[in-house]
């Protein structure tokens, strides 16, 4: 964390709303993107980011200054998004309006071309989103930071509050679980195999 950001955190911790506003302005977009990946809904992503910032504001006293503010906020936002997603699923279930989860399953089996390819792709994305939501918190943070944010293992270790070996293991476990979900849905083009 650079000196300016550290100063901002310290001032915000002391109750300086303008300093916190600087943090909000700097991180709204990356946090929104992280939340969107989980929620696939722009408005819900904004709600999750709002909740995340409120959590962060109240938890600033507990923020470890040796950690990266960005990864700390990221983790809070991802958790807020996961909570939102669970709430949404519960509401949809209660309303009896759970979407047809396997709409795309028919498409996978269909021999037809483009529309189904789109459906398959849509299904893959939905499944990937579900699978990410099902990961443990450490695994989810690790894979989102590594795959989407391009963060190094060292940075992930810092975000998780552990060592590099634990961060690597979290990435490995996440990849293994995601592959287990995605692989069956992916068609290996015939003739490509040796």
């Amino acid at each position: 964390m650079d000196a300016a950001e550290l100063d901002r955190v310290r001032r915000a911790r002391g109750g300086d709303a303008e300093a916190f506003r600087g943090i909000v302005e700097a991180y709204s977009r990356p946090l929104w993107r992280a939340a969107f990946r989980i929620l696939d809904d722009p408005a819900a992503a904004e709600d999750a980011v709002q909740i995340a910032f409120l959590h962060a504001w109240r938890a600033l006293d507990r923020f470890d200054e040796s950690a990266e503010l960005s990864t700390w906020l990221f983790r809070i936002a991802v958790n807020a998004a996961i909570d939102q997603r669970r709430d949404r699923t519960r509401r949809e279930t209660l309303a009896g309006a759970l979407p047809e989860d396997f709409d795309g399953q028919v498409a996978v089996r269909s021999p037809a071309a483009d529309p189904h390819r789109h459906a398959v792709s849509r299904q893959l994305i939905d499944r990937a989103r579900d699978a990410i939501a099902e990961l443990s918190q450490a695994e989810r943070t690790a894979i989102l930071l590594r795959h989407f944010e391009g963060r190094s293992i060292v940075e992930i270790a810092r975000a998780l509050g552990g060592d590099e070996s634990a961060a690597k293991q979290a990435v490995f476990r996440a990849v293994r679980k995601l592959r287990a979900v995605l692989a069956p849905l992916m068609e290996v083009p015939r003739g490509e195999s040796a």
């Binding site: 916190f20 909000v24 302005e25 709204s28 977009r29 910032f53 990849v175």
Partner: protein, 237 residues
């Protein structure tokens, strides 16, 4: 040589392998390893479909607007409301107030000028700007109504409400002037009626008797008037 485990391929995929040249060499010569790596790459690439678009313009402004009331209320005063009604109330007024950064400005720093508010808004596309303003006015009326309800129900202390009233007062002046300029006389008139109450609460000393404010709300039927005006805006938010 013995085939490399998946863990090494994952590290290689993410550019974290300590000896990438060795992996590249093996991939070029080991067909089975190469196939395994292709499968890994294909499956992980499927995650790219989750890439997020850019958020709607003005996200930072909207976000601060939502957060400002909670963040700028003094520690100990903030009571985060529970349930969706509570969250709605929390968002209420926030949009308005933070549009100009009033809250922070009034409490900690010199208040930003109307020009700075205008320039923030000018950064938005026209349709979005109009929606933001309309929704902000609706939120402002909700927030004013909630403040009056707390006062009328006797559930508030002046220490709790002073800061909130001060921020609402700033927003109220802006909206009243905007409504006057736009020829929306009814809206302007209601905003003008609640302004003295907000000013009174904002400047009230610790010994202020909230009964005076309660009497004013009842005598002028302020809650009813605000509710009606807000309902007329219902479709806007």
């Amino acid at each position: 040589m013995a085939s490399r485990p998946d863990e090494e391929l994952i590290l290689f995929f993410y550019g974290e392998h300590e000896a990438p040249q060795d992996v590249e060499r093996d991939l070029a010569t080991d067909g089975d390893l190469s196939r395994r790596y292709d499968a890994l790459r294909r499956e992980l690439s499927a995650l790219d479909g989750l890439d997020a678009p850019e958020p709607r313009a003005g996200l930072e402004i909207r976000m601060w607007a939502r957060l400002a009331p909670a963040v700028t209320r003094r520690p100990g005063i903030l009571r985060l409301p529970a349930g969706w009604l509570g969250w709605a109330a929390l968002a209420t007024g926030a949009l308005v107030l933070a549009l100009g950064g009033f809250l922070a400005g009034r409490i900690f720093h010199p208040a930003p000028t109307e020009n700075s508010v205008a320039s923030n808004l000018q950064a938005l596309p026209p349709a979005a700007r109009e929606r933001v303003l309309e929704a902000a006015l609706a939120d402002h009326l909700d927030a004013s109504q909630r403040l009056m309800l707390e006062v009328a129900n006797g559930s508030a202390s002046i220490d709790d409400e002073r800061v909130w009233a001060e921020t609402l007062l700033s927003a109220n002046r802006l909206y009243r002037r905007a409504a006057e300029r736009a020829g929306q006389r009814r809206v302007a008139s209601v905003l003008a009626e609640i302004e003295p109450l907000l000013a009174q609460l904002a400047d009230a000393p610790g010994t202020f008797d909230l009964g005076v404010a309660r009497a004013q709300i009842a005598k002028q039927d302020l809650l009813f008037k605000v509710r009606v005006t807000r309902n007329n805006l219902k479709e806007l938010s």
